[in-house]
Protein backbone atom coordinates (compact mmCIF):
# COMPACT_ATOMS: atom_id res chain seq x y z
CA UNK A 1 0.00 0.00 0.00
CA UNK A 2 2.90 2.35 0.82
CA UNK A 3 4.39 1.61 -2.61
CA UNK A 4 1.04 2.32 -4.22
CA UNK A 5 0.70 5.59 -2.31
CA UNK A 6 4.15 6.63 -3.43
CA UNK A 7 3.32 5.70 -7.01
CA UNK A 8 0.07 7.62 -6.75
CA UNK A 9 1.77 10.70 -5.38
CA UNK A 10 4.43 10.58 -8.07
CA UNK A 11 1.77 10.22 -10.77
CA UNK A 12 -0.11 13.16 -9.34
CA UNK A 13 3.00 15.30 -9.30
CA UNK A 14 3.83 14.29 -12.87
CA UNK A 15 0.33 15.11 -14.01
CA UNK A 16 0.40 18.50 -12.32
CA UNK A 17 3.74 19.32 -13.92
CA UNK A 18 2.46 18.35 -17.34
CA UNK A 19 -0.99 19.85 -17.07
CA UNK A 20 -0.47 22.93 -14.96
CA UNK A 21 -4.15 23.11 -14.11
CA UNK A 22 -6.42 20.54 -12.51
CA UNK A 23 -8.22 18.96 -15.42
CA UNK A 24 -10.11 15.71 -15.34
CA UNK A 25 -11.50 13.38 -17.98
CA UNK A 26 -10.33 13.02 -21.53
CA UNK A 27 -11.52 15.70 -23.91
CA UNK A 28 -10.36 14.99 -27.42
CA UNK A 29 -11.27 17.40 -30.18
CA UNK A 30 -10.71 15.88 -33.62
CA UNK A 31 -9.25 18.19 -36.28
CA UNK A 32 -11.43 19.11 -39.25
CA UNK A 33 -11.24 16.03 -41.52
CA UNK A 34 -11.93 17.86 -44.80
CA UNK A 35 -9.07 20.25 -44.13
CA UNK A 36 -6.67 17.43 -43.52
CA UNK A 37 -7.99 15.22 -46.36
CA UNK A 38 -7.67 17.95 -48.99
CA UNK A 39 -4.59 19.70 -47.64
CA UNK A 40 -2.77 19.20 -50.97
CA UNK A 41 -5.57 20.93 -52.87
CA UNK A 42 -5.74 23.97 -50.63
CA UNK A 43 -3.97 27.19 -51.40
CA UNK A 44 -2.93 29.47 -48.58
CA UNK A 45 -3.99 33.08 -48.99
CA UNK A 46 -4.92 34.96 -45.81
CA UNK A 47 -7.38 37.66 -46.72
CA UNK A 48 -10.43 39.41 -45.31
CA UNK A 49 -13.74 39.48 -47.13
CA UNK A 50 -17.05 41.24 -46.64
CA UNK A 51 -20.12 39.04 -46.74
CA UNK A 52 -22.27 40.16 -49.69
CA UNK A 53 -24.72 37.55 -50.93
CA UNK A 54 -27.92 38.46 -52.77
CA UNK A 55 -30.00 36.80 -50.04
CA UNK A 56 -28.69 39.30 -47.49
CA UNK A 57 -26.59 36.73 -45.67
CA UNK A 58 -23.92 34.15 -46.47
CA UNK A 59 -23.86 30.57 -45.28
CA UNK A 60 -20.82 28.97 -43.72
CA UNK A 61 -20.84 25.28 -44.53
CA UNK A 62 -19.24 22.45 -42.64
CA UNK A 63 -17.03 21.93 -45.72
CA UNK A 64 -17.33 22.47 -49.50
CA UNK A 65 -18.65 18.91 -49.94
CA UNK A 66 -21.28 19.15 -47.25
CA UNK A 67 -24.76 20.64 -47.39
CA UNK A 68 -24.79 21.22 -43.63
CA UNK A 69 -24.81 24.88 -42.72
CA UNK A 70 -22.94 25.74 -39.55
CA UNK A 71 -23.70 29.42 -39.45
CA UNK A 72 -25.48 32.14 -41.43
CA UNK A 73 -23.70 35.50 -41.41
CA UNK A 74 -25.32 38.83 -42.26
CA UNK A 75 -24.06 40.84 -45.22
CA UNK A 76 -21.52 43.41 -44.20
CA UNK A 77 -19.79 41.25 -41.67
CA UNK A 78 -16.08 40.77 -42.19
CA UNK A 79 -14.83 37.22 -42.64
CA UNK A 80 -11.20 36.16 -42.36
CA UNK A 81 -10.17 33.36 -44.71
CA UNK A 82 -6.77 31.79 -44.98
CA UNK A 83 -7.24 28.71 -47.16
CA UNK A 84 -8.91 28.44 -50.54
CA UNK A 85 -10.37 25.38 -52.20
CA UNK A 86 -11.80 25.06 -55.71
CA UNK A 87 -14.41 22.36 -56.12
CA UNK A 88 -15.14 20.25 -59.19
CA UNK A 89 -17.63 22.85 -60.43
CA UNK A 90 -15.03 25.59 -60.33
CA UNK A 91 -16.52 27.27 -57.27
CA UNK A 92 -13.87 28.75 -54.97
CA UNK A 93 -14.43 28.33 -51.25
CA UNK A 94 -12.66 30.04 -48.37
CA UNK A 95 -12.09 28.58 -44.91
CA UNK A 96 -13.42 31.12 -42.42
CA UNK A 97 -11.62 31.31 -39.08
CA UNK A 98 -12.88 32.69 -35.82
CA UNK A 99 -11.43 33.30 -32.38
CA UNK A 100 -8.77 31.00 -31.00
CA UNK A 101 -8.11 29.64 -34.53
CA UNK A 102 -11.45 27.85 -34.60
CA UNK A 103 -12.74 26.99 -38.06
CA UNK A 104 -16.20 28.56 -38.40
CA UNK A 105 -16.97 27.01 -41.77
CA UNK A 106 -16.48 27.35 -45.51
CA UNK A 107 -17.95 30.16 -47.55
CA UNK A 108 -18.44 30.55 -51.29
CA UNK A 109 -16.18 33.43 -52.25
CA UNK A 110 -18.65 34.38 -54.98
CA UNK A 111 -20.88 35.51 -52.07
CA UNK A 112 -18.18 37.81 -50.72
CA UNK A 113 -16.14 40.80 -51.83
CA UNK A 114 -12.49 41.14 -50.79
CA UNK A 115 -11.70 43.89 -48.34
CA UNK A 116 -9.37 46.26 -50.24
CA UNK A 117 -5.82 45.28 -49.38
CA UNK A 118 -2.32 44.97 -50.85
CA UNK A 119 -3.60 42.42 -53.38
CA UNK A 120 -6.35 44.74 -54.57
CA UNK A 121 -3.74 47.46 -54.90
CA UNK A 122 -1.39 45.21 -56.86
CA UNK A 123 -4.18 44.13 -59.22
CA UNK A 124 -4.85 47.76 -60.04
CA UNK A 125 -1.34 49.24 -60.10
CA UNK A 126 1.12 46.43 -60.77
CA UNK A 127 2.03 47.87 -64.16
CA UNK A 128 3.10 51.08 -62.40
CA UNK A 129 5.48 49.44 -59.94
CA UNK A 130 9.06 50.59 -60.16
CA UNK A 131 12.35 49.70 -58.57
CA UNK A 132 13.96 51.51 -55.67
CA UNK A 133 14.92 55.14 -56.24
CA UNK A 134 18.41 55.80 -54.86
CA UNK A 135 17.30 59.33 -54.02
CA UNK A 136 15.58 57.76 -51.00
CA UNK A 137 18.66 55.92 -49.74
CA UNK A 138 18.71 58.22 -46.70
CA UNK A 139 14.92 58.25 -46.25
CA UNK A 140 15.13 56.50 -42.87
CA UNK A 141 18.13 58.40 -41.48
CA UNK A 142 17.10 60.13 -38.29
CA UNK A 143 13.78 58.29 -38.26
CA UNK A 144 13.27 56.25 -35.11
CA UNK A 145 9.88 54.73 -35.85
CA UNK A 146 7.97 54.08 -39.06
CA UNK A 147 4.36 53.70 -40.10
CA UNK A 148 3.22 50.85 -42.31
CA UNK A 149 0.05 51.11 -44.39
CA UNK A 150 -2.34 48.51 -45.84
CA UNK A 151 -1.60 49.99 -49.25
CA UNK A 152 -0.75 53.45 -50.59
CA UNK A 153 -3.64 55.84 -50.22
CA UNK A 154 -5.61 53.44 -48.03
CA UNK A 155 -5.68 55.76 -45.04
CA UNK A 156 -5.44 52.55 -43.03
CA UNK A 157 -2.42 52.17 -40.77
CA UNK A 158 -1.36 48.53 -40.56
CA UNK A 159 1.27 49.15 -37.89
CA UNK A 160 2.65 52.19 -36.17
CA UNK A 161 5.70 52.91 -34.06
CA UNK A 162 7.89 50.16 -35.53
CA UNK A 163 11.65 50.57 -35.12
CA UNK A 164 13.18 51.82 -38.35
CA UNK A 165 16.35 49.86 -37.47
CA UNK A 166 14.65 46.83 -39.06
CA UNK A 167 15.78 48.29 -42.40
CA UNK A 168 19.46 48.81 -41.79
CA UNK A 169 22.08 49.03 -44.47
CA UNK A 170 21.34 49.51 -48.16
CA UNK A 171 17.64 50.29 -48.53
CA UNK A 172 17.63 49.09 -52.15
CA UNK A 173 18.03 45.57 -50.80
CA UNK A 174 14.96 45.95 -48.59
CA UNK A 175 12.68 47.77 -51.02
CA UNK A 176 12.56 46.26 -54.48
CA UNK A 177 8.94 47.03 -55.32
CA UNK A 178 7.97 50.67 -55.19
CA UNK A 179 5.31 53.02 -56.46
CA UNK A 180 4.87 56.75 -56.80
CA UNK A 181 1.43 58.19 -56.04
CA UNK A 182 -0.34 61.07 -57.71
CA UNK A 183 1.00 63.51 -55.15
CA UNK A 184 4.59 62.48 -55.81
CA UNK A 185 5.00 60.44 -52.64
CA UNK A 186 7.26 57.45 -53.03
CA UNK A 187 6.09 54.18 -51.49
CA UNK A 188 7.85 50.87 -50.95
CA UNK A 189 6.30 47.44 -50.47
CA UNK A 190 7.24 45.69 -47.21
CA UNK A 191 6.78 41.93 -47.27
CA UNK A 192 7.55 41.45 -43.60
CA UNK A 193 8.48 43.67 -40.69
CA UNK A 194 8.26 42.75 -37.00
CA UNK A 195 5.54 40.18 -37.65
CA UNK A 196 3.50 42.47 -39.92
CA UNK A 197 3.12 41.20 -43.46
CA UNK A 198 2.30 42.69 -46.82
CA UNK A 199 2.27 46.41 -46.11
CA UNK A 200 3.55 49.59 -47.68
CA UNK A 201 5.91 52.21 -46.31
CA UNK A 202 5.83 55.80 -47.51
CA UNK A 203 9.51 56.64 -47.93
CA UNK A 204 8.58 60.27 -48.52
CA UNK A 205 7.08 60.44 -45.03
CA UNK A 206 8.08 57.26 -43.19
CA UNK A 207 6.91 58.34 -39.74
CA UNK A 208 3.78 60.25 -40.71
CA UNK A 209 0.64 58.44 -39.58
CA UNK A 210 -1.70 61.13 -40.87
CA UNK A 211 -1.36 60.55 -44.60
CA UNK A 212 -4.84 60.99 -46.04
CA UNK A 213 -6.78 58.30 -47.80
CA UNK A 214 -7.16 58.60 -51.53
CA UNK A 215 -10.58 57.29 -52.60
CA UNK A 216 -9.46 57.14 -56.21
CA UNK A 217 -6.46 54.86 -55.67
CA UNK A 218 -8.71 51.84 -56.08
CA UNK A 219 -11.85 51.57 -58.19
CA UNK A 220 -15.13 51.56 -56.34
CA UNK A 221 -16.04 48.05 -55.31
CA UNK A 222 -19.35 46.35 -56.09
CA UNK A 223 -22.40 47.76 -54.38
CA UNK A 224 -22.87 46.15 -51.02
CA UNK A 225 -26.18 44.37 -50.64
CA UNK A 226 -27.97 45.21 -47.38
CA UNK A 227 -28.14 42.56 -44.72
CA UNK A 228 -31.35 40.56 -44.55
CA UNK A 229 -33.67 41.53 -41.73
CA UNK A 230 -34.22 37.94 -40.70
CA UNK A 231 -31.18 35.73 -40.83
CA UNK A 232 -32.39 32.13 -40.71
CA UNK A 233 -30.97 29.90 -38.07
CA UNK A 234 -28.89 27.13 -39.63
CA UNK A 235 -30.58 24.66 -37.36
CA UNK A 236 -28.69 22.71 -34.80
CA UNK A 237 -29.38 19.11 -35.71
CA UNK A 238 -25.93 17.98 -34.58
CA UNK A 239 -25.98 19.85 -31.30
CA UNK A 240 -29.56 18.81 -30.49
CA UNK A 241 -28.77 15.18 -31.15
CA UNK A 242 -25.58 15.44 -29.10
CA UNK A 243 -27.51 17.04 -26.23
CA UNK A 244 -30.18 14.33 -26.40
CA UNK A 245 -27.58 11.58 -26.39
CA UNK A 246 -25.71 13.20 -23.50
CA UNK A 247 -28.85 13.52 -21.39
CA UNK A 248 -29.83 9.96 -22.27
CA UNK A 249 -26.47 8.46 -21.32
CA UNK A 250 -26.28 10.46 -18.09
CA UNK A 251 -29.83 9.57 -17.07
CA UNK A 252 -29.40 5.89 -17.91
CA UNK A 253 -26.14 5.75 -15.95
CA UNK A 254 -27.71 7.47 -12.95
CA UNK A 255 -30.66 5.06 -13.00
CA UNK A 256 -28.39 2.03 -13.23
CA UNK A 257 -26.26 3.28 -10.34
CA UNK A 258 -29.39 3.87 -8.27
CA UNK A 259 -30.78 0.40 -9.04
CA UNK A 260 -27.66 -1.74 -8.74
CA UNK A 261 -25.63 0.09 -6.16
CA UNK A 262 -28.27 1.22 -3.69
CA UNK A 263 -27.57 -0.07 -0.20
Amino acid sequence: MKKLSRLALFSLLFCFVCSGVIHADSIVEPQDSFYQKHSDELSYLPRSYTANAKEGYVSLYKNPESSRVRENVANGERLFCSSLYTDSLGQTWGAVWGERDALRGWVRLSDCVPVPDYLSFAEQHESEFVGFDEAFQDALKGVSSIVLWSYPGSGSVAADGLDAQWFDGDLSEHFTTCWRDGDGRFWAYVGYCYGVRNTWLCLSAPDDSTLPADPDVLPAGPELIPAAEDIPSPGLPGAVLAATLTVGVVAASAVLIRIFFRH
Binding site: A8, S11, L12, F16, S19, I22, H23, D25, S26, V28
Partner: protein
Protein backbone atom coordinates in the same frame (compact mmCIF):
# COMPACT_ATOMS: atom_id res chain seq x y z
CA UNK B 1 -19.62 16.82 -31.92
CA UNK B 2 -21.02 13.32 -31.60
CA UNK B 3 -17.76 11.64 -32.75
CA UNK B 4 -15.88 13.76 -30.18
CA UNK B 5 -18.32 12.70 -27.44
CA UNK B 6 -18.00 9.02 -28.31
CA UNK B 7 -14.23 9.08 -28.68
CA UNK B 8 -13.71 11.05 -25.48
CA UNK B 9 -15.96 8.70 -23.50
CA UNK B 10 -14.27 5.61 -24.94
CA UNK B 11 -10.81 6.95 -24.11
CA UNK B 12 -11.90 8.01 -20.63
CA UNK B 13 -13.43 4.62 -19.88
CA UNK B 14 -10.33 2.80 -21.13
CA UNK B 15 -7.99 5.01 -19.13
CA UNK B 16 -9.95 5.15 -15.91
CA UNK B 17 -10.86 1.47 -15.83
CA UNK B 18 -7.20 0.61 -16.39
CA UNK B 19 -6.22 2.92 -13.55
CA UNK B 20 -8.96 1.44 -11.38
CA UNK B 21 -7.56 -2.05 -11.93
CA UNK B 22 -4.12 -0.84 -10.84
CA UNK B 23 -5.73 0.79 -7.79
CA UNK B 24 -7.17 -2.58 -6.89
CA UNK B 25 -10.79 -2.00 -7.89
CA UNK B 26 -12.59 -5.17 -8.90
CA UNK B 27 -16.02 -6.56 -9.75
CA UNK B 28 -19.05 -4.39 -9.04
CA UNK B 29 -16.92 -1.44 -8.07
CA UNK B 30 -15.34 -1.51 -11.52
CA UNK B 31 -18.79 -1.42 -13.10
CA UNK B 32 -19.61 1.57 -10.88
CA UNK B 33 -16.46 3.27 -12.12
CA UNK B 34 -17.65 2.83 -15.71
CA UNK B 35 -21.17 4.10 -14.97
CA UNK B 36 -19.90 7.10 -13.04
CA UNK B 37 -17.74 8.17 -15.97
CA UNK B 38 -20.67 7.70 -18.34
CA UNK B 39 -22.48 10.14 -16.09
CA UNK B 40 -19.81 12.85 -15.97
CA UNK B 41 -17.64 12.74 -19.08
CA UNK B 42 -20.36 13.38 -21.73
CA UNK B 43 -21.57 16.44 -19.84
CA UNK B 44 -18.10 17.94 -19.56
CA UNK B 45 -17.23 17.23 -23.21
CA UNK B 46 -20.60 18.53 -24.49
CA UNK B 47 -20.45 21.80 -22.55
CA UNK B 48 -16.77 22.22 -23.48
CA UNK B 49 -17.74 21.78 -27.13
CA UNK B 50 -20.36 24.53 -26.88
CA UNK B 51 -18.40 26.90 -24.65
CA UNK B 52 -14.67 26.20 -24.94
CA UNK B 53 -13.71 28.40 -22.01
CA UNK B 54 -10.77 27.07 -19.95
CA UNK B 55 -12.27 28.47 -16.73
CA UNK B 56 -15.68 26.91 -17.33
CA UNK B 57 -14.08 23.61 -18.28
CA UNK B 58 -11.94 23.64 -15.14
CA UNK B 59 -15.03 24.26 -13.00
CA UNK B 60 -16.90 21.44 -14.74
CA UNK B 61 -13.99 19.09 -14.28
CA UNK B 62 -13.85 19.88 -10.55
CA UNK B 63 -17.58 19.17 -10.33
CA UNK B 64 -17.03 15.88 -12.15
CA UNK B 65 -14.25 15.03 -9.71
CA UNK B 66 -16.59 15.71 -6.80
CA UNK B 67 -19.51 13.73 -8.27
CA UNK B 68 -17.29 10.76 -9.03
CA UNK B 69 -15.64 10.86 -5.60
CA UNK B 70 -19.04 11.05 -3.91
CA UNK B 71 -20.36 8.10 -5.92
CA UNK B 72 -17.32 6.01 -5.04
CA UNK B 73 -17.63 7.02 -1.38
CA UNK B 74 -21.32 6.16 -1.04
CA UNK B 75 -21.86 3.33 -3.48
CA UNK B 76 -18.57 1.42 -3.34
CA UNK B 77 -17.15 1.53 0.17
CA UNK B 78 -14.63 -1.11 -0.81
CA UNK B 79 -12.77 1.39 -3.04
CA UNK B 80 -9.87 2.63 -0.88
CA UNK B 81 -9.50 6.42 -0.54
CA UNK B 82 -12.33 7.26 -2.98
CA UNK B 83 -11.59 10.99 -3.22
CA UNK B 84 -7.89 10.46 -3.97
CA UNK B 85 -8.86 7.72 -6.39
CA UNK B 86 -11.21 10.09 -8.23
CA UNK B 87 -8.53 12.79 -8.39
CA UNK B 88 -5.76 10.54 -9.68
CA UNK B 89 -8.03 8.65 -12.05
CA UNK B 90 -9.14 11.84 -13.74
CA UNK B 91 -5.63 13.27 -13.83
CA UNK B 92 -4.45 10.10 -15.55
CA UNK B 93 -7.23 10.15 -18.14
CA UNK B 94 -6.60 13.83 -18.83
CA UNK B 95 -2.92 13.23 -19.42
CA UNK B 96 -3.72 10.36 -21.74
CA UNK B 97 -6.18 12.53 -23.65
CA UNK B 98 -3.50 15.20 -23.97
CA UNK B 99 -1.00 12.69 -25.33
CA UNK B 100 -3.54 11.29 -27.80
CA UNK B 101 -4.39 14.80 -29.00
CA UNK B 102 -0.70 15.57 -29.55
CA UNK B 103 -0.26 12.37 -31.54
CA UNK B 104 -3.38 13.08 -33.63
CA UNK B 105 -2.29 16.66 -34.37
CA UNK B 106 1.25 15.66 -35.34
Amino acid sequence: MIPALCFSLALTLAAELAFALVWGVRGRALALCALVNCMTNPVVVFVHGLFPSPVLTAVLELCALWVEGACYRFFAPDIPRPWLFSLLCNAFSFLLGLLVSQIVYF
